[in-house]
Subunit: 196 residues, 4 copies
DNA sequence: GTTTAAGCGAGACGGTACGTCAAGTCTTTGG
DNA sequence: CCAAAGACTTGACGTACCGTCTCGCTTAAAC
């Protein structure tokens, strides 16, 4: 699938300029006041160029976050399950709210309303990390740290849930101690003998 | 604070019409395409009347949800803690996503970006229910069903978190069985002996 | 026509306050920005009270000018025809543009577009003065200063015309010398023998 | 000042459509009820496009009249001074009130209140014609038909004044006979020996 | 002296148009 | 043929006043 002669070739410098402008404008005015027009003007780029390559404002920001975020498909495995889980949770927190002005929250908000964006957000940012998370839990099962029949779906809900809970309620992200408490509770729930 | 002697008073019929129009338009086109203009037109009301009494589109929807939602300050207490908790969780779910077209999700999304709306949303919809929830947990502590030193903040995060988690990831709300599993895990975590 | 039983009891103090507020607001912001709402607020009066007694903004200003203007049905007759005519012209100038911020010009403008107001303006301000003017010319005819067959309609057009001409072209009203020149020309035209 | 290399250029078709819509709407409802919104709707044009190129409703109408009006910088000179002057006066009358519904009067009215519009109106419509008029009078002086010291400013006031006088008083424009009478009087005034 | 109906202030109401903003599309010109 | 520039249509925004309409209160006339 290499481009043929005279094939349309995307300008990498424009792409960079657009992402940079987006990042700056988010930092200055917040995601809420981010407009395509402003991005185009700041990046020195025609609006057409933006619309040619991205379907929406959110998609640009998504690409920005994706580039910034750390990558790594294999889960960390230090042997300390709780610590590894905390690192994984922290990674998601850092994507969504590394700083007050960062666009992660705005992107989450927009994705609630825009199914297409929501899908892209999950596919590119969320699900790979969930998958890594589950891998780590399965490794724990293999190591005998968790029962083989532990309900990993419930574990996901319980561990990632608080992040979104606090996001939704403007409560500020859980700090390190609270993360530890959450993880400790969940691990206890998974290992404690079930009633009956 | 009764109105002064010469105060012209608010028209209850307009208020009703505005809320009704809002509800209809959400049902027809979704919260996303809801506009003040359309509400005014549908309600047969001047835009000014809307702006006089509500600061934003979200505020109208908030009032709509608030009126629709069930009220009740005292927590249910049937003796069955898990069942009572499930009822309380279900109540919040029903406010946010009673139906696909209901505006709860849109309102949540908007409140993420609009601090004023977020504050109002928490004050009027969320916090009263959290308070009720905590009351029920305290009653359980008094009844010896939960340890006196159980961390209720963590319990809140663990129980409400999944709702927002699933909201954020477009996963659909937990069904009754999943709710039960979540609650069972959390109760186990709260009652299981702590490590160390 | 004394008021019958149950006659409307108009509040003279409100009327005064409205005219005073109108005058002030014209002075401050110009006729253009004059609004009924502002008049009502400044006068400490309900809008209803204004609409009860005046059909339009212009009608209020007309009443204001009418009260301010000098009255006098009999024309001045000092024997000096040119001087008397100049006094009569000056009187009209003083009604329309006593000062830069005065509402006379605005009223003229509005009356061009509002037939009802135009009619009222002519009846109450213009025509009485035209009638007086014609009387003076007729006195001049009787005194032999003007030919008996002088065309008084043309004289009116020629003498009052320049006022409106200059108004329309934002040229500033004719000063005393220019008025004299205009009058001298017209009197010459009226007395000069017609071409045969 | 030709447009830069990458300049998108003004749409002539939009401009035409806007002027046409303006003309139609004036004919149908009169200048008074002319709104930018209606023009945009009728012309199938965005309001922004109108605001981009014209500062006000009046400016559009001015451009409309300017396009419609006859052009011609050199004054007519048939040798018959009175007839030439009448033609020049008639030209101004035809611009302002060619028909009952024409927007000329409204434009005059608005220009009385809007200095910017007034300036534009004079520059584009009035002053060129005044200049032509003065040229013709100077030609008459050269031809010995008028004294070299005739006061042309006074002549202007006396000849154009009646037009605005009658406009202001809703009297209807002078017909051909009255125009002749006015011109005859003024020429007599200019040629008659001065008193003293 | 009461009664009582009008005028009154206040201001909410349904509307119309305003002038602005940003969206997404289209057109022109240049590299 | 991509990209920049920016003009275009569209549609919603929030505001300003319009002229109308209830409200209670005040007040002068009629009883």
């Amino acid at each position: 699938m290499s481009p043929g002669p005279n094939a349309a070739r995307r300008s990498e410098s424009s792409r960079k300029a657009i992402l940079a402008a987006t990042e700056e404008l988010c930092r200055e005015n917040g995601y809420r006041k981010l407009t395509i027009e402003a991005i185009a003007a700041r990046a020195g780029v025609g609006k057409t160029t933006i619309y040619r390559w991205w379907p929406s404002r959110g998609a640009i920001v998504l690409e920005l976050l994706d580039e910034t975020a750390t990558v790594g498909t294999a889960p960390p495995n230090t042997g300390d399950l709780a610590a590894d889980l905390r690192a994984l949770l922290q990674e998601v927190i850092d994507i969504i709210v590394p700083a007050d002005t960062s666009p992660g929250v705005g992107l989450m908000a927009e994705s609630l309303q825009d199914p297409e964006l929501g899908r892209a957000l999950r596919e590119r940012l969320i699900e790979p990390r969930i998958e890594t998370f589950k891998q780590r839990l399965r490794q724990a099962q293999d190591a005998g740290q968790l029962p083989a029949d532990a309900d990993l779906e419930v574990a996901l809900d319980l561990l990632y849930g608080p992040i979104y809970h606090r996001l939704a309620l403007h409560l500020g992200m859980p700090d390190s101690d609270h993360l530890d408490a959450l993880i400790a509770h969940v691990l206890r729930a998974l290992t404690a003998p079930k009633a009956g």
